[in-house]
C-alpha cells in the first residue's frame, strides 16, 4: 500500500500529537499445510497490509465478517504472537521485533478482554487470585495492599467484596465479564484490546458492560481497540471505525460518517444487513449481499470483494484498490472512489 502517509496522525482536533498506537503495514500469515519435507504449501493471509492509528483516550472499532482478521489484528497489536511483517508503534516505539523481556513493560500497559467469559477465566482460581495475578506479575503491591486493591477493583466493576472468594462458575456471564474487566485494569494499563467483550451476553446485560467500559475509559483515560460483530454497539462506543474484509482494511472513518455515508460497497452492504428493531422500518432487501466469503486461502488478484460486489467492473479484477482519502478522516479502498 502506497498511501500510508494519509493515515498518519489525522485524528479530528488531535492532529499534531503522536497517536498512542500506530500500526503500519501489518501482516500476519498462517501456514496451514506443510509438505512432507516441511516446505510451506499453503499460506493464509489472515491480516494483509493493514495500517491504522489510535489516539490516546480514543476508541477505535473494528468490524467485519467472521474470519476477516479482526482478532488476528488485535492479537498482533498486543503481541500475543510474532507478526509476519509491519510495525506496531506504541508511543512511537516499534514493538514488532521485541522479545518477551523487552515487551514486559508494554505488557503492563496493554491488556485485553476477550469474548468468552467462560473460557477466558481459569476455573481453578477464585476471584481474589484471578485479579491479584496481574498485580503480582507487574509488582508494586505488598500482599496486604494487594487484597485491598482487589476489593477496590471489585467494587469498581460493580461486584461485592464477598465475591472475592468465589470461583468463576458461580457467576453469570455478565458478572464474569466484570471479573475479566477488573483483571484487565488491575495492572493500570493505558490500552485495552476488547475482542467481542459483549457478544456472549444478553442485550440487557450488554448495556451494563458497555456503560462500565465507557465509565472506566473516562476515569482512567483508557484507549480501546474494540472488536465486535454487533454493528450498532460498535457505532455507539467508537470514535472511529475500521471495516475489514478478508484480511484488508477496506474503509476507515469517524463513526457517524461511516454509518451515514458509507463509501465502500462492502460497508454499505454490511449496514444494510443490520435487522432494524422497528417493525415500521423495513430493511432494504435489494441491497442484500449475495453469496458468501470466498476461501481466504485462494489468493486472487484484484479487489477481494469483487465476487460479491454489485458494482464490480473489469478493473476490479485486475488491480487491487488501495486505501485512499476520500474526505477528511475518511478512507476507502475501492475503485469507485478515485
Amino acid at each position: 500500500m502506497s498511501d500510508n502517509s494519509l493515515l498518519e496522525g489525522r485524528g479530528q482536533a488531535r492532529t499534531g500529537k503522536t497517536p498512542l498506537l500506530e500500526v503500519r503495514r501489518l501482516a500476519k500469515h498462517f501456514t496451514i499445510e506443510k509438505s512432507l519435507f516441511g516446505r510451506t504449501t499453503k499460506v493464509l493471509k489472515a491480516v494483509d497490509d493493514v495500517s491504522f492509528h489510535i489516539h490516546r483516550g480514543e476508541t477505535f472499532g473494528l468490524v467485519g465478517e467472521s474470519g476477516c482478521g479482526k482478532s488476528t489484528t488485535g492479537r498482533s497489536v498486543i503481541r500475543l504472537f510474532d507478526i509476519t511483517s509491519g510495525e506496531i508503534c506504541y508511543e512511537g516505539i516499534d514493538l514488532a521485533g521485541m522479545n518477551e523481556r523487552q515487551l514486559k513493560p508494554y505488557r503492563q500497559k496493554m491488556q485485553a478482554i476477550f469474548q468468552d467469559p467462560y473460557s477466558s477465566l481459569n476455573p481453578g482460581m477464585n476471584v481474589m487470585e484471578l485479579i491479584s495475578e496481574p498485580l503480582e506479575i507487574y509488582g508494586g503491591y505488598s500482599r496486604s495492599n494487594r487484597r485491598d486493591r482487589v476489593i477496590e477493583l471489585l467494587e469498581r466493576v460493580g461486584l461485592k467484596r464477598e465475591h472475592a472468594d468465589r470461583y468463576p462458575h458461580e457467576f453469570s456471564g455478565g458478572q464474569r465479564q466484570r471479573i475479566s474487566i477488573a483483571r484487565s485494569i488491575a495492572s493500570g494499563p493505558e490500552f485495552v484490546l476488547c475482542d467481542e467483550p459483549i457478544s456472549a451476553l444478553d442485550v440487557s446485560v450488554q448495556a451494563q458492560v458497555v456503560n462500565m467500559l465507557e465509565d472506566l475509559q473516562q476515569e482512567l483515560g483508557l484507549t480501546y481497540l474494540f472488536i465486535a460483530h454487533d454493528l450498532s454497539m460498535v457505532r455507539h462506543i467508537s470514535n472511529r471505525i475500521g471495516v475489514m474484509y478478508m484480511g484488508k482494511l477496506v474503509e476507515v472513518s469517524f463513526s457517524e460518517e461511516l454509518y451515514t455515508h458509507p463509501a465502500h460497497p462492502y460497508t454499505e452492504a454490511l449496514l444494510a444487513a443490520i435487522p432494524i428493531p422497528d417493525p415500521k422500518v423495513l430493511m432494504p432487501t435489494d441491497r442484500l449481499l449475495q453469496g458468501e466469503l470466498p476461501s481466504p486461502i485462494d489468493a486472487a488478484i484484484g479487489c477481494k470483494f469483487r465476487s460479491r460486489c454489485p458494482y464490480a467492473s473489469r478493473r476490479c479484477g485486475e488491480e487491487e484498490p488501495v486505501l485512499k482519502r476520500i474526505a477528511p478522516g475518511h478512507y476507502a479502498a475501492c475503485h469507485l472512489h478515485e
Binding site: 444478553d202 440487557s204 458497555v210 454493528l231 455507539h236 428493531p277 449481499l289 458468501e292
Partner: protein, 331 residues
C-alpha cells in the same frame, strides 16, 4: 386464519443433582396457519425448552410435567412415540442454531436430503436426487449439481443452515420451529437466510415459530411476538403493539437497552440492572421483581394475564391496575 397449534399450560423441568430446574413454568400460546411468530427473551428464559417440549425432544434429565400441545386438535404430548415420530419432520420440522450438530458428518449432503425426501414422498432414487438438487438451488446454493455430493464439513456455516432449511421445508411441514437459526451467522448471511425463510414459508403456507434473542430479527420477520422471562410469558402481542406500546417493564427494559441506530454516539445506554432469576428456586411472585424498577410488595404474588387490548396481553400488576382504572373510567 384457523388455529394450527395450541399450547396450554406447558411445564417442563430438569431433575438435576441440585434439584428441580423449572425451565418452563406454565406457558400457553397458539399459532395460526401461515403465521410467523417469534419468541424473544434472554438466555435461560426457557425459549429452547419450550420449543423442544412441543415435539418431546427434551434430553433424558428433563420431563414435561404438565400441559398440552395440540396440533390440529391432536395432543402431541400424549401421542404414542411412533405416531409422534411421523409428526416430526412431516407436519412439524425443526432447525437449530448449530446446523453441524444436526447434519450427519459422514454422509454427503445429497444422501441426507434424498433420504428425507424419500421418507416423505414415495420417490425413486433418481427422482429424489433431482428433487434434492432443485431444493439446494431453491435455498441459494451455487452449483447444486456439484455441491450435492459434498460432505457437511465442506460447506460454510451459512450453507449448512441453508441445507437444514431445505431438509426442513422439503417435507412441506405445517409448522417450522426454528431455534436461533441465524445466531451463529454473520449479519450479511443472516439477512439472506431470513429473507429465504420468510419467502419460502409464504409460498408454502408453512407457519413458523422463530426463537431469537435479537429484537431486530423479530421486528423484521415476525407478525406476532412472545416475550419470555424466567420460564413464563411476560407479554404477547403483534410486533407493532410490542414495539410501539410495550406494557411490561421487562419488554420496555429490553427495548431501551438496544442502542438505536438513529441516536448519536455517547448517549448513555439504559441497561436492565441485575441478572435473570435462578430457575432452581424460582420466585413464586413476578420473576422480574428483583430487577424491576416499578416493583412493589404486591409483586410477591404472581399477577394474572390481562389484555390491554385484544390480542395484547401481559403479566404484570401494573397492567392489572391500568385495566381496572380504565374500567372504572367507563362506568
Amino acid at each position: 386464519m384457523t388455529e394450527l397449534l395450541s399450547v396450554d399450560q406447558l411445564r417442563t423441568s430438569f431433575f438435576t443433582r441440585d434439584g428441580e430446574v423449572q425451565a418452563v413454568r406454565g406457558v400457553s400460546f397458539s399459532i395460526k396457519e401461515g403465521e410467523l411468530i417469534g419468541i424473544v427473551g434472554e438466555s435461560g428464559s426457557g425459549k429452547s425448552v419450550t420449543a423442544k417440549s412441543l415435539l418431546r425432544l427434551i434430553p433424558p434429565s428433563g420431563q414435561i410435567v404438565g400441559g398440552q400441545s395440540k396440533l390440529r386438535g391432536v395432543d402431541l404430548l400424549s401421542l404414542p412415540e411412533e405416531k409422534l415420530r411421523k409428526v416430526r419432520g412431516h407436519q412439524v420440522a425443526m432447525i437449530f442454531q448449530d446446523p453441524m450438530t444436526s447434519l450427519n458428518p459422514v454422509l454427503t449432503v445429497g444422501a441426507q436430503l434424498t433420504e428425507v425426501l424419500r421418507r416423505h414422498q414415495k420417490l425413486s432414487r433418481r427422482h429424489a436426487r433431482q428433487e434434492a438438487i432443485e431444493w439446494l438451488r431453491q435455498v441459494g446454493i451455487p452449483s447444486p449439481e456439484i455441491r450435492i455430493d459434498q460432505y457437511p464439513h465442506e460447506f460454510s456455516g451459512g450453507m449448512r443452515q441453508r441445507v437444514m432449511i431445505a431438509m426442513a421445508l422439503s417435507c412441506k411441514p405445517d409448522l417450522l420451529v426454528a431455534d436461533e437459526p441465524t445466531t451463529a451467522l454473520d449479519v450479511t448471511i443472516q439477512a439472506q437466510i431470513l429473507a429465504l425463510l420468510t419467502n419460502l414459508c409464504k409460498t408454502t403456507g408453512t407457519s413458523v415459530l422463530l426463537i431469537t434473542h435479537d429484537l431486530g430479527v423479530v421486528a423484521q420477520v415476525c407478525s406476532r411476538v412472545i416475550v419470555m422471562y424466567g420460564g413464563l410469558i411476560m407479554e404477547e402481542g403483534t410486533v407493532e403493539d410490542i414495539f410501539s406500546a410495550p406494557q411490561h417493564p421487562y419488554t420496555k427494559g429490553l427495548l431501551r437497552s438496544i442502542p438505536r441506530m438513529r441516536e448519536g454516539r455517547r448517549e448513555r445506554l439504559v441497561p436492565i440492572e441485575g441478572s435473570p432469576p435462578n430457575l432452581l428456586n424460582p420466585p413464586s411472585g413476578c420473576p422480574f421483581m428483583e430487577r424491576c424498577p416499578q416493583a412493589s410488595s404486591e409483586c410477591l404474588i404472581l399477577p394474572p394475564y390481562v389484555e390491554s387490548k385484544p390480542g395484547h396481553r401481559s403479566l404484570c400488576w401494573l397492567t392489572v391496575a391500568r385495566k381496572s382504572e380504565r374500567q372504572e373510567g367507563l362506568q
